[in-house]
């Protein structure tokens, strides 16, 4: 079989170029600036978060070092003890400048704690923390929805949190 001359030349050229690039990368490439180690451990993203449909992500403005958020929520929550889930509505609009972590609290007891809810995400169903279903009985409770805010880049928590009064209906 006659191998085309141009193919042989092309292969040789590829080999030479690749070898030259390899030598450059290993011995002459200027190292990228050593990335800085993050200050804080990243909070895992909330697995139940979903995109907000039709969300406008035009960002709010904030002074340097500050933050700005918008929140959309329902003040009624339903907890199903058989499913060990909480049904609610909470959204972190795309215009927000911070990530959020949500807690459902009854009498200082944290029943639900989410992972990070990024701007542009909403949650409708959340899992109860392990074992918390044993603290509840069927009925209606007055509780709080706590929203905590985190810098989207550094993961640093803001000192300001939001407490929202909610009515929690517990069903078996």
């Amino acid at each position: 079989m006659n191998i085309p001359k141009w193919l042989v030349i092309a292969l040789i050229a590829v080999i030479i170029i690749c070898l030259l690039l390899t030598v450059w990368a290993l011995f002459f490439r200027i190292p990228a600036n050593t990335p800085l180690t993050p200050d804080y451990a990243p909070v895992e993203k909330e697995e139940n978060a979903e995109n907000i449909e039709g969300d406008d992500d035009t960002k709010l403005t904030a002074s340097p070092g500050g933050g700005a958020v918008g929140i959309i929520y329902s003040d009624k929550i339903t907890i199903d003890l058989s499913d060990k889930k909480a049904s609610l509505y909470f959204a972190n609009p795309g215009k927000s400048l911070q990530d959020m972590v949500l807690q459902v609290v009854i009498q200082d007891e944290i029943l639900v704690q989410t992972g990070t809810i990024n701007p542009g995400k909403q949650v409708r169903t959340l899992n109860l923390l392990v074992g918390k279903e044993s603290l509840l009985t069927e009925g209606v409770y007055e509780g709080k929805l706590m929203a905590h805010y985190y810098n989207t880049e550094t993961g640093e928590k803001a000192m300001v949190s939001t407490a929202i009064s909610v009515t929690i209906t517990v069903r078996i």
Binding site: L11, V14, P42
Partner: protein, 162 residues
């Protein structure tokens, strides 16, 4: 030019190997993300409350909304590269704290390791010597125990005292 089949196969193999070597070397020497590494605890941390001499402006700091308290000297003095500030994690806190000294541009000049509630560190080593009057920022950073999630931070502006 006639090339034997065997030589051609060798050429192809060399080409594949050289491409693989190039891709690997470019990937290995490129930028990459650095994973979080938990900050160490301060080896000089002392349990208890410090006996701070007069004149250092030592006091506890807390404001509505803060989830922890701490104490530190408002008058930070420097002897060479060592700054004395008696940074204290108040007993009763549920977070670990560390303190970072920054210049007014945000550059880190020094920082303590983590200290637990009921501990303090007397000094922090700075990256250089600084004259009295140099503006600095003391940034206290809180960490949730075990997870190392942020528990919030507080920044205080002050100056290197005499």
């Amino acid at each position: 030019m006639k090339t034997s089949n065997k030589s051609f196969k060798i050429l192809i193999a060399l080409a594949v190997l050289s491409v693989a070597a190039m891709v690997s070397s470019l990937c290995l020497t490129g930028g990459r993300e650095v994973e979080f590494t938990p900050p160490p605890f301060d080896a000089d941390a002392v349990a208890g409350t410090p006996s701070v001499p007069d004149g250092f402006g030592y006091g506890e700091f807390w404001q509505e909304g803060m989830t922890y308290r701490f104490s530190v000297c408002g008058n930070v003095t420097a002897d060479g590269t060592e700054a004395t500030l008696y940074f204290t994690n108040s007993e009763g806190n549920e977070v670990w704290l560390k303190l970072r000294v920054l210049d007014k541009g945000g550059k880190i000049l020094g920082e303590t390791g983590l200290i637990k509630p009921g501990e303090y560190v007397e000094k922090v080593t700075l990256s250089g010597t600084f004259e009295a009057g140099t503006e600095i920022v003391l940034k206290v950073m809180g960490y949730e125990p075990e997870t190392y999630y942020s528990a919030g931070s507080v920044s205080l502006r002050t100056k290197i005292g005499e």
